[in-house]
Symmetry: C2
């Protein structure tokens, strides 16, 4: 089952929605215009299609294995990772100061999507290294930066995030791992961390663990958590590797999906204490981790888009090839490829529309991230930051929830063959199921959306987005096509539903927290649905105009058709969400606990 | 992970919705009143909880295996099956003439649900035997009946359904297996059948294969298909087993779920021809198979309810036990069991409401089946048959689609632990994925709903159901509770949406088949949603009345709360479906084939 990067769609978003020409005006991104994007994406596509994608099925069949404290990754992974690092792909978005290419997220996001479509299990290792890199860039001392960053950015070493403990999952207040200050300024770290992605493996010579732990005497709860670097091998002054540190993998998990990605249980300090280096200041670990997590959460959203894209491609290929039954409209007088059946088209269109909608949303979010970090004007940076921060839970929550539906439809299109593991599409469903869970479940994303992203500013950012949507509606209203009229109807209803819910959240959050949080996930789904639909509305306008100028008419016509499908079959769910949230809050918590 | 049969809810449906007192008035069911139902269900619960349920996880971990033409089932299955047969469970709904207990489907359905909750992989063997039994009862000669029925009903032998071939899945017109008439009246059967559930196993001494094949010279397409019995072992005149027949298992599949259930590739006639016996008349095989399939499809719908129930129970148990984070309403000043979090309640309520709604729908369908077969008046039989036939694609399609959502939520409630296979809940999701595929995919159910069940009678049955729903609305309107008002609002909107769609289907089916079939699955989902919601509306009325009479107040209050949740969070999706179907038909098929 091959993978072909959807370059045209990615470049459409980058050019027309994310507005790369504007991104290229930001200081430091002067060379990162459309031509660069195109060149990077094409090279990235070749690498992922040829080197990484072929290992996806093998990783599922012969996952990483654990023996005597060591993890052996799937055959081929180590070599592929070496090529990945040698190609400079790990540094694509990281600063040139540390050997990176310093490209904007607007371009990097498309590369991340490709890597994850090619092989989500493989891609997790670089994703975690990105997180560790971000944490060090943000809060690491010069010495830590000097010791670790070049190696991480080069992909010579890899990174991990160590948050979870058996009793502390979503609730990091319960973290028990502890760190004892040493006279030399280092710490000794003790504790058990679970669910550590690529916590142990054989693809790189060192692993840089970022670990949450409590310094002795720190306050209880989340305010007493600090962030440490604990390298697998100590690093000598000259940068060479020294002794093995006291962190050891004691087992890896047997999982539903992403089987090639080793999920480790790590034991810190069983032999005297693991040497750890404080990142930033004591007791500010959660704050740093949150910034890292916002990066990682966006990345997980891309994983959702990525696996959905791969599932879509497989389903299309099968639907064009599998011959079964005559078309209901009599257009073919014999059994025909199943893509001729309306319900198969409905499934494929659903998959396609979700993918294009979420990709478009992620693409504009990436551009906002770039502007938030690089724009010379503080106000513009602030606006973009608020927009990006609002979108992160949508990109993470909505794109991953949709990926479950898309991957399930992918199996469904394959019928009985989809249920047979050798076909390879059940893997997409199994892989996708982790996406709504890790880096914060959908409910955790929804709490973030309700709390930090809506209540905190009294709904201002949400309303600013709604005002922008209204402008798109005004543009749609000027047009005469059936597609734009249909989109206008659904987008308007979606925006109004969203505003109703934002008002509900803002007005009820303090007095009726149960009512608001009963609808938190539906609010996230509604907001994601509407924002993705809005981006497809913008796409529709642009694509109609370009088609009328004879500009790649087939592609633009398809873009319009997909946007219209989204409006009529996905965006039209928005009012139902509003009703559930606003009218149905009480029934969520009405049942007595003992009645369950 | 234990299983406790939801006896109270089952008996509520059987007593109040399916109206067992009326069923017990049907000839032959005089002893099958509420007391019998209760006694049978309690005994059935004990057996499934104690004997069958504990094997579920083991079946997933150590599936059936294949070697040298033989299939060895999971350790414990053979013994459990012997107990199942010895307990008389195979014959529960089959005629006393052949050793069965002759109980109504109204009772039998609950038993089937329990068996499938306990262990879906195990339950498939009896389910297929039921299908073979039905086919023989309906169309078999006296000789075939005499030879096979008692053994099948006793569970000494098991049955299979052989439809699928590599090129013929949903499209049975493409069946190529052939049968050559022999001078002695038997046939020699040749061909390859795939996806044959329990096509080979070690739990019974003989396997009775029901096989679709073409008699030499038969017409092309579906009108040239006949149905045959091909026993694994020939049966001597005295009922003892004779020679091995020429049907052989060449492999079993490696599947996403239901791993303990062997899915066989069967080769017929490689050594001279498998001896087959014609069932009924030549070329009427598909017709017989369809009646069998209506039985089997209903059974698969129960499997959806069953696996969803099990997933729900596991999620509730975990949510009560797993401590994580403080409740948002400040009701507990420390980390609390996650069931205190509104979004966890929302997930649990969604699971619960789907299960109760679909169970209620299946229960009234069962009662209609009983009346359709046993009522002394032809008109009543006919009405009930039409009602049952309309409900079968809903029970099959809607209950299985919801089971995917419920099983996925079950994993979600478990967070990261849900993704670890040892937790056991990922199995529910993997198992459930087959349900929307086998015995006709959801699209095939939807074609049946549109074609045979709606167009054929010009929407008369659908409208008759809508008229009944309107009566329930009138009852709701007389009541004063908030729950009944909320239910009324959503039920009315749902019924109106359903009627709009029925009008659309009936009026457009001939002129615009693509438009109608573009919305066939959404129509099925809408109809299932509304009919299940209607049954919960009836439940709400009954439960409110019983509670007001101090009758099991806690249970009745929970029933009302669940019905209201269904109305506000599930039934409220109905108008969205209508919009998709009626306004969105064009966009489903608009994209050019080459644009995919």
């Amino acid at each position: 089952m091959s993978y072909t990067a959807p370059l045209k769609d990615m470049l459409f978003d980058i050019e027309h929605l994310a507005n790369i020409a504007e991104v290229a005006k930001l200081p430091g991104f002067e060379d990162a215009g459309l031509e660069t994007a195109q060149a990077v994406l094409e090279e990235c596509a070749r690498f992922n299609q040829d080197v990484i994608a072929p290992l996806n099925v093998e990783g599922d069949r012969a996952p990483s294995s654990f023996k005597d404290g060591k993890v052996t990754t799937t055959a081929g992974f180590k070599d592929a990772y070496a090529q990945y690092a040698a190609g400079g792909w790990q540094g694509i978005q990281h600063p040139a100061d540390f050997g990176g290419q310093g490209l904007p997220k607007t371009i990097g996001a498309a590369c991340t999507e490709m890597l994850n479509s090619a092989n989500m299990s493989f891609a997790l290792c670089p994703l975690l290294s990105d997180g560790a890199t971000e944490a060090l860039l943000m809060a690491g001392s010069d010495e830590l930066k000097a010791t670790y960053l070049e190696k991480l950015v080069a992909g010579e070493w890899t990174g991990t995030m160590n948050l979870t403990e058996p009793q502390a999952g979503s609730d990091l207040a319960l973290v028990r791992s502890r760190a004892e200050p040493q006279p030399d300024g280092t710490y000794k770290v003790f504790g058990t961390k679970i669910f550590i992605t690529y916590g142990e493996h054989d693809m790189a010579e060192n692993i840089v663990h970022l670990v949450l732990a409590r310094v002795s005497g720190a306050p209880e709860g989340v305010k007493g958590i600090s962030l440490f670097i604990v390298p697998k091998f100590m690093v000598n002054k000259d940068g060479s590797l020294g002794d093995r540190n006291d962190v050891h993998c004691v087992s890896i998990e047997h999982k539903l999906g992403i089987k090639a990605s080793p999920t480790a249980v790590l034991q810190y300090g069983d032999h005297g204490g693991a040497v750890g280096y404080l990142v930033g200041e004591e007791n500010r670990g959660l704050e740093y981790m949150f910034i890292m997590m916002n990066v990682a959460r966006y990345g997980v959203g891309l994983q959702g888009i990525a696996v959905a894209e791969r599932a879509y491609q497989a389903a299309v290929a099968y639907a064009k090839e599998r011959v079964q039954s005559r078309p209901v409209d009599g257009s073919i007088k014999a059994s025909a490829p199943i893509i001729h059946h309306p319900d198969v088209k409905r499934m494929l269109m659903t998959m396609r529309a979700y993918v294009e909608g979420c990709r478009a949303m992620a693409s504009v979010a990436a551009a906002a991230y770039d502007a938030a970090h690089k724009h010379p004007e503080a106000d513009t940076r602030k606006q973009n930051e608020a927009f990006y921060d609002f979108l992160v839970p949508l990109v993470k929550g909505y794109s991953t929830e949709m990926s479950l539906e898309v991957a399930s439809l992918g199996v469904q299109v394959h019928g009985g063959m989809g249920f047979i593991e050798e076909t390879g599409v059940a893997q997409h469903l199994r892989d996708a199921k982790i996406l709504t869970i890790y880096e914060g479940t959908t409910a955790i994303q929804a709490n973030d959306l309700v709390g930090r992203k809506t209540m905190r500013d009294g709904g201002a950012t949400a309303k600013a987005i709604a005002a922008q949507i209204e402008k798109t509606e005004a543009e749609l209203a000027k047009r005469s096509s059936a597609a734009s009229a249909s989109m206008l109807k659904r987008l308007k209803a979606g925006r109004e539903a969203l505003l109703d819910v934002v008002d509900f959240v803002v007005s009820q959050a303090k007095g009726s927290p149960n009512a608001v949080f009963s609808g938190s996930v539906p609010y996230l789904m509604l907001a994601g649905n509407v924002v993705a639909g809005w981006q497809l509305a913008r796409s529709l306008i642009i694509a109609e105009d370009l088609a009328s100028q004879n500009n790649d008419v087939a592609f633009m016509t398809a873009k319009v058709a997909t946007a219209r499908f989204y409006a009529e079959h996905i965006l039209n769910k928005a009012p139902g969400y509003r009703d559930s949230i606003v009218d149905g809050a009480e029934s969520v918590t009405a049942l007595a606990l003992e009645a369950f």
